[in-house]
Every structure is written in C-alpha cells, then in structure tokens.
C-alpha cells in the first residue's frame, strides 16, 4: 500500500498515465502473444508441407517408354511391369493387391512408379526459403545431384490420406493412422459418454452434498482431472494391456491378437482419461438448468427420474454435447497414454476390429518427428495439418453450439 503513495507523489499525473498506457500495451501483448505463436506455428507447418524438392529416380521413366507413363495404355504398363520385376515380386503384388489384369490405368501407373521408377526425395527446401532464394538452391542441388528433377511438392495430398504406412517418406501415408484414431475415439465416446453423463447426473441431481461419500466422489473427480495423461497410460498398460490381456486381445472371443496392445485397450484408457473432464463439464451444464423447471415437474407428480429424463436432460443437452465435443477433440490430440498402451508405427493393415493393433494420427506425428531424416518432418507437417483441420472444425462446432445455447437462455 505504501507503494501507491510513493507512486502518486513521485509521478505527476501525465507520467502516471504514460505508465498506464505502457502497461496496457504489455497486457495486450501478453494476451495476443499466444495468437502470434499460433500464427508462427501454422506458418511453420505450411512451410514444411509445401517444399521445393530434388527427386532422383532409380530408373529413368524415359528408358521405359518413349512417352510419359500417364499416356501409356494398360497393356503397355503391364508389359513394363512384367519385364522389369522379378516373378516372385510380381506374385507378391498380385497376392497383396489384385491381379495385374484387373488393375486400371491409374493403379498400374502408380505401381510402375513405386516398384520400378522408385523416386526418392534427396533434398527438400521449405516453401518460403525456396521462394526467396530459388536460384541459389537450384545451383546447390545441381552440384550435388546432377540428374535430379527439381519441382514444388505438396506433401499433403489426397494420396497422402489414402496411402499406407511406409519406411520411405515419399510413399508413406496416414490411412491407418486416421482409421486408428477414429476407432479409438469411437470406443472412448461409447464408454465415457454414458458413464460420464451418468456420474454427472448422480452428483448434481441425486447426491446429498453433505454426505461424506459424495464429497469424496466430487473431490476425487477434480483430482483425477489434474493427473498427468501419461499416468493414465501407465494405468492402461498395467490393467488393460497386461492384467486383462485375455479380454483386450480378444482371446476369450476367439480372435487372439497375440497381446493386449489393441484398439480396445487404447480406447478404454482414453475413456478413463477423459472421464473426469466430461463429468465436470456435464455437471456445469446440469447446474445451468433452472430450479423452477424441476419444481414444476415435481409439482405435476413426476418422479425424480421422469423429471431428469423428460425435462432436465433435454434442457442441458446442448451444454453436455458442447463439453463432449471439446473432450473428444482433447482425446483426438492426446499422444502420451497411447505410447504406453502400445500404439505402433509398423501397422500396414487397416484396423479390422477392436482387437486390431493400432496407430493414431498424433502418434504418427510423434514418430515421424523424432526420426532423423528431414523428409519425415515434411510428412509430419502434412499430418499436423490434417489433425489441426479436424480439431479446429470440432472446436468451431462446439463454439457454434454454445452460442446457440446462450441465445436460447
């Protein structure tokens, strides 16, 4: 308190107002610094997703045919494949994908590219750098890889979304990762939504807040919301992956996956992780329902559950859904627990059931980011763009829903 006296005595009014202006600027800066960083982050990711690349081919397409591959007929492409691939390799391809005779022109072109031409990105330069000093970069590439083709490459393409995992960044895609994420989220919602809303209804509508057990319940939920996510991963590893391996591997259902590191374990772990957050946000939605609504219903002779089901829940539903969407977007971006539960980057098959092994989009981003080859950072950036697009649209939905809700009240 003494300081205020000192301040007012030492500074005349205009000086004090100048300090005020200065600090107001600082406070505003603190508020927007996060947004500035967010902007830089997005620019970085875009910068790495669209790059100038130097690509060398193992076999020059010009030696395969006198025209570009895209213009060749299906028969000519089949001919090239049969001439250039060993019979064993051909048999493997036909077994894994489809017989050559049944493939269309696009499939065959893709096959010739991946199996024979084998383009490899030798160097890749971020977008803005390449725009500003393209000539220098081209000279650099020419001296190092004389026969390389130089062009702009978008790492995020429709193909990228559909391709399978690969150890080569040029051929890798996020197909299994996207499907894995969807499966996990599906299990998470299926388990966490009913239990979370149920627990919230119990705490808000039934529980006597003076009773000891209910106070413990409430405190416990708040504590759980603050537990680091990796702890849930440890719990999932110990309980779902190890102790309940017979169930989570599907052994008791006759589809043994071999270990408990399955989508089911991942989804259940995620469900436990989001449960406290879901309960707290649903509680808030229920608390916003006016008392008079319940009293009117009771006055008409409705029982407690009739009141909740027919009056309280419909009124609170938009709020509960908003909370659920935000929770889902949190779960979609979560990585750490799934590392422990056993997400694996070596997944080449689409997940078939809850007993399949899995990888997810954030896990794939992590995996690609920590690899030493710089091209993996490019596909990590492309995967980040996919993830951010999904999350931002989820968040936008939640905000729209919330605005509608606040208008209605």
């Amino acid at each position: 308190m003494n300081r205020s006296v000192v301040l007012s005595e030492t500074g005349n009014l205009s000086v004090r107002h100048q300090w005020g202006k200065f600090f107001q600027g600082l406070f505003l800066f603190s508020t927007v610094i996060g947004l500035i960083v967010l902007g830089i982050l997005i620019v970085t990711v875009v910068d790495k997703t669209f790059t100038l690349v130097a690509v060398t081919n193992k076999v020059d397409p010009a030696t395969l045919a006198d025209r570009p591959l895209e213009e060749l007929s299906e028969e000519e492409l089949r001919q090239i494949l049969r001439e250039n691939l060993r019979p064993a390799r051909l048999r493997t391809i036909e077994r894994d994908q489809a017989p050559l005779d049944e493939m269309n022109q696009a499939d065959l072109t893709a096959l010739v590219t991946t199996e024979i031409v084998k383009p490899t990105t030798r160097a890749s330069y971020p977008l803005f750098q390449s725009l500003t000093r393209r000539a220098e970069i081209e000279a650099e590439i020419r001296s190092e890889y004389p026969d390389a083709q130089i062009y702009f490459k978008a790492w995020l393409t429709w193909d990228f979304l559909q391709r399978s995992m690969s150890t080569k960044p040029d051929l890798a895609g996020v197909r299994q990762a996207v499907k894995g994420s969807l499966w996990i989220i599906f299990i998470t919602i299926l388990v966490a939504f009913p239990i979370g809303v149920g627990a919230a209804i119990y705490l808000e509508e039934y529980a006597d807040h003076r009773s000891r057990i209910n106070r413990i319940l409430q405190t416990n939920i708040e504590n759980l919301a603050g537990v680091p996510s990796i702890i849930y991963g440890i719990l999932g590893l110990a309980v779902f992956v190890r102790t309940l391996a017979l169930i989570t591997s599907g052994a008791v259902f006759g589809v043994d996956a071999g270990s408990g590191r399955t989508i089911l374990s991942g989804g259940l772990t995620m469900a436990l992780l989001v449960l406290p957050i879901l309960i707290i946000s649903s509680q808030e939605a229920l608390r916003a329902v006016p008392r008079s609504l319940r009293e009117a219903s009771y006055a008409m002779g409705a029982t407690r559950w009739q009141t909740i089901w027919h009056h309280v829940l419909p009124y609170a539903l938009p709020g509960i859904l908003t909370g659920t969407i935000l929770t889902v977007s949190r779960a979609l971006g979560e990585t750490a627990p799934l590392i422990l539960v056993g997400a694996s980057s070596l997944i080449n098959k689409d997940p078939q059931s809850v007993f399949s092994f899995f990888t997810t989009l954030p896990f794939q981003i992590y995996n690609w980011t920590v690899r030493p080859q710089p091209e993996f950072r490019n596909i990590a950036a492309a995967a980040i763009l996919v993830l951010l697009a999904v999350l931002l649209s989820l968040n936008a939905t939640a905000i729209v829903l919330r605005n509608r809700l606040s208008k209605r009240i």
Binding site: F23, I230, L340, P362
Partner: protein
Amino acid sequence: MEVSLRHLKRPEESALDVSRRLQKRPRWGEGFIQAFLFFCGAVSILTTIGIVYELGKEALLFFQMPGVTLLEFFTKTEWQPTVGRFGVLPLVSATLVTTVIAMMVAVPFGLGAAIYLSEYASEKARKVLKPALEVLAGIPTVVYGYFALTTVTPFLRIFFGDAINIYNMLSAGLTMGIMIIPLVASVSEDALHSVPNALREGAYAMGATRLETSLQVVVPAALSGIIAGFILGFSRAIGETMIVAIAAGAGPNFTFNPLKAAETMTGYIARISGGDVAYDTPDYNSIFAIGLLLFGISLVLNIISRRISARLREVYE
C-alpha cells in the same frame, strides 16, 4: 385430516385404505437407475484405486530389486536401471529446469493476459480473445513438440550458436510455457473477475489510475486465486510429456544448464515404453516408480491449488 380425506375417499374405502393407497409406491426402476448412476460416479473412485494400486504394486517390486534403496533413489545422480544405477535425480533436475523455464514464460504472460481480459478489454474484445485462447489450449501437445524442435530450437541457435544442443531443455521449456499461458490466464482471470467492483470504485475514487487500481488493488485482492492458477500451471508442466519427449532430448543427464539435452521423468517413461517393453524387467518396473513419484507430486500440487482457491471463494461469497 377428516376434511382432506373426504374428497379422496371412494365409497367402499375406510380412511385407512385411503392413506395406504396414497402411500409412496415402491419404484424399483427408480432405485435401479439411482444405483446405476452411483456406479457411474464410483468408476472414478475405481480409477483412483487402480492408479494407486498398480503404481504402488509395481513400484514396490522396483524397490525390492537388489541394489535399489530409497536413499539411493533420491540422492544418486545417475539413472541407468539396466546396469544398476538407480538415482532419479537427473530426471528430476531436467523436469525442474523445463518446468521453471515454462513458468518464467507462463506466469508473466498468463497474468498479463488475465489482467487485460478482466480489467481492460471491452466486452467485444473479450468475446473474440477468450475463444482464441481456448483454441490455443486445444492444440495437441505433440504439435507443440514439433514446433519446439523445428522452429524454436533453430531460432535459439541464432543467439546461442553451437552452444545450444539440437535437443535442449530451453526450447522445450519455452514452448511448454506458451502452451500453459491459456491455463494460467483463465484461472487468474476468474480470480480477478470475482473481486468485487466496490474495491475498484474505491480506488478510482481515491484518484488511482486504472493501472494502479489493477496492480495495487485488484491483483492483491485476487492473489490467492492467481497463485492457485500458477500452481495448476506448474503441475501441468511437470506432467507434460510430448513436448519434452520430442524437444528436450533422450537420455538422462544431470545438469541445470538449459542449453543441454536432458531427459525428464515423463520423457523417460515415454521413451522406455515406446518399444515393446518386456514385463517385470528393471525398465518396466522403473516406469511405475517414476510414475508414482509424478502422480504424488501432481496430486499434492492440485490439492494445494484447490485449497487456496476454495479459501478465496469463501472470502468473497
């Protein structure tokens, strides 16, 4: 009594029959639903018991291994469970360094943002800025990790040159700080918002400027809530995994130099469990011992934070 029953009485009934008929019917469905809802609530208790039991059980196995003692665990500075070095300090020191750096970013900026939103911003500006901060809070941490490694570290290299490692605690800590700003800002803003307007008006009446009112009247009045927010942020930083796993480096390193690479507790857990870790090995058990330590620290911090903010609520309600 007689009067009230007259209307309800059917011809053949006595007063006793009527009162029986009006008695509460047993509703098994209602009871069943309530029991189910209670079970839903109890799942969270089961989760807590599960965490404590599993962490405790495996950590106990860890401490029963030959050569592991509590004293060594908390005092030795080398952590190599596979070759019998069980001093957790290098992991703790790295966690501490990254967390302190994060707080040095999150505390001033988070508080500044809270003051701006609560004391300066117009209603319109708040409506835009608050959701924007929420978006920032919704960015997955793995994306922040990517950002730390590919943008923040190269940026820091401009200033430190080769003195700074590719993987370093400074870049991880700074990025983590940015990540925590929204959390600190939102908790502090709630605290500032709950300060009664009378206090501000009193200060204005005494001739204080808005800045003097904010810093010398409102902030001290909301101090306990603000501190609760800082503690929450601290706890969040300690438990954060992906940013440090990507950007702070792999391999325990007992150092307080933020320019060096060092592995945090969470980073260690993520790295060890990343492969197919075999059950009942020193590595596997050590995950649980460190998990228990992490769980204990964040639990204590959360409880302190909630105590403080509960006290604040009492003062102004």
